[in-house]
C-alpha cells in the first residue's frame, strides 16, 4: 500500500468516528421528554387518530383529552407550534400534568409540530435542552426549531404558495403557522396543519388557542391575536386580564395574512380562534450568548440596553422576562378566555380545576407544578 493510500484510509476512519459521535449527538434530539398526565386525563390520542395520513410519521403527536361529567364547551390548546418558543410548550405540559375538567372538554397538544422538536436551528448556537427543577429532581425539555426538520421535509422550494394561497419564501413551507388549513396530500407540515383542522372539526372546538412567544423587539408581543369571530371574547379577556394587573394588548388577525392559525381556524373551521404571544429573550436577535439559563431566566444585558434606547415593545429591566413569568401570563390568559367564553355563552362553560394559579407560578416557579421524574 502506498503512503497516500494509507493516509486516506486513516482519514476515512477518522471521518467515520466523527460521524459516529456527531450522529449520536444529533440523534439525542429525536428523544422525547417525559410527560406525566394528570390522573384526571380522560383519554390520550394521537394526531394520526384524526388524520391517518400522519401515522408513523415524525409529524404525529400526542393529543390529551380531559372531559368533564357535565356538558359544556370544548377548548383546544396548542403548544409547540414553534418548538423554539418554550413558554407555549411548557404551559401545555403544565396543563396536561395538573388539569381536572369537571364541565366541558379540554384538548391539549403540547408538541403541535413534533418534527420541529427533533432538530435545532443551524448557526444559532441554541442549547438542545433546558432543565427545570422539580421537588423530585430536574426534568429536561427540548428546545427545538421554529420549522419542521429538513430531514423530514425536503426540499424547500424557492417560493411557497401555502394552502390558503399566500406567497411566502420557500423555508416557510416548514412553518406550521403558515400552513393552515393544511393539505391532505401535501408536505409533512401541511399534513400536520390538516390533522389539527381535523381535531377542531371532529371535536367541535368552540375555542382554539395557539400558544406562542416572540422576540421582545417584535411589535406583536404580550398580545391576544384574535379572529374577528372572537373579537368580543378577546375584548372581555383583555378587560379581565387588565383588572388582574396583567398588561396585555389586542391585535386583530389581518384578513390578508393567510395560513396562520388565528386566521384559518376561524375562516375554515369556524371556531373562535385566538393566538397568545409572550416576550421571549432567547428568541430575539439582540440577545447575547444563547444558553439554557437565558431560556429560563430571560436576563440579557443587550436587551436592557435596547429597552433604555426605547427599541422594545415590552418593559425590560435587570430581572429579565423569565420563563415562569411567560408561562404565568399564558395561564392567566387561558383562564380569562375560558371565563370570558362562559360569560358570553353560558352554555359553553368549561370548568377547569387544578389549573396552576398564575400568581403562584410567578412566585414559586414552574417546578412545583411539574410531576417529579419517575
Amino acid at each position: 500500500m502506498k503512503k497516500h493510500q494509507a493516509t486516506a484510509f486513516l482519514l476515512l476512519l477518522l471521518a467515520a468516528l466523527v460521524c459516529f459521535f456527531a450522529g449520536r449527538e444529533f440523534l439525542t434530539m429525536h428523544e422525547e421528554e417525559a410527560v406525566y398526565p394528570s390522573p384526571h386525563l380522560t383519554i390520550k390520542k394521537r394526531l394520526s387518530d384524526y388524520f391517518p395520513g400522519l401515522k408513523n410519521s415524525p409529524g404525529d403527536s400526542s393529543v390529551y383529552i380531559f372531559e368533564g361529567q357535565k356538558m359544556g364547551g370544548t377548548l383546544l390548546i396548542l403548544g409547540g407550534t414553534h418548538p423554539n418558543e418554550p413558554a407555549g410548550f411548557i404551559t401545555a405540559v403544565l396543563l396536561v400534568e395538573n388539569l381536572e375538567v369537571t364541565q366541558g372538554k379540554v384538548i391539549i397538544v403540547p408538541r403541535a409540530n413534533n418534527s420541529g422538536f427533533m432538530h435545532s436551528d443551524p448557526q444559532e448556537g441554541n442549547p438542545q435542552r433546558y432543565s427545570l427543577s422539580t421537588p423530585g429532581g430536574p426534568r429536561w425539555f427540548r428546545y427545538g426549531s421554529r420549522l419542521t426538520n429538513p430531514i423530514h421535509q425536503w426540499p424547500d422550494s424557492v417560493l411557497y404558495v401555502n394552502p390558503a394561497g399566500q406567497k411566502l419564501s420557500g423555508t416557510e413551507s416548514r412553518n406550521l403557522n403558515r400552513s393552515y388549513p393544511g393539505r391532505k396530500h401535501g408536505k409533512l407540515t401541511e399534513k400536520i396543519a390538516y390533522a389539527i383542522m381535523q381535531v377542531i372539526d371532529n371535536e367541535k372546538a368552540d375555542l382554539a388557542v395557539d400558544l406562542h412567544e416572540a422576540a421582545p423587539e417584535y411589535p406583536v408581543i404580550n398580545a391576544i391575536v384574535f379572529h374577528e369571530n372572537s373579537a368580543e371574547l378577546a375584548a372581555v379577556t383583555l378587560m379581565t386580564l387588565q383588572m388582574e394587573g396583567v398588561d396585555i394588548r389586542l391585535e386583530a388577525s389581518p384578513p390578508n395574512l393567510r395560513g396562520l392559525s388565528h386566521r384559518e381556524w376561524g375562516d375554515f373551521a369556524k371556531t373562535r380562534a385566538v393566538l397568545l404571544e409572550t416576550a421571549n429573550t432567547s428568541h430575539g436577535r439582540l440577545k447575547g450568548r444563547p444558553s439554557a439559563t437565558l431560556i429560563i431566566n430571560g436576563k440579557d444585558k443587550n436587551y436592557m440596553k435596547a429597552a433604555q434606547l426605547g427599541l422594545l415593545f415590552v418593559p425590560f429591566d435587570e430581572d429579565g422576562i423569565s420563563l415562569k413569568q411567560r408561562v404565568s401570563r399564558h395561564l392567566a390568559s387561558l383562564r380569562a378566555l375560558v371565563s370570558g367564553l362562559h360569560e358570553l355563552h353560558p352554555d359553553l362553560c368549561i370548568q377547569l380545576d387544578n389549573l396552576p394559579n398564575p400568581i403562584e407560578v410567578q412566585k414559586v416557579g414552574i417546578g412545583p407544578y411539574l410531576t417529579p421524574s419517575k
Binding site: T7, A8, V18, F26, I151, W154
Partner: protein, 48 residues
Amino acid sequence: MIQIIYHFLVLYLTFHLIWFVIREKKFWNQLSGVIVLIMFLLRLLLIK
C-alpha cells in the same frame, strides 16, 4: 420518489468522494475531501 433520487445522488457523490480521497496524493486535498464526506454521510443516514 424524489427522496429516492436524492438518496442515490448523495450515495453516488459519497462514493466519488471516497474514491477521490483514496486516489489523491496531496494530504490537504485528502483532508478537505474527508471534511465534506462527513456531511454527506450524516445526510445519507438521514441524521442531519
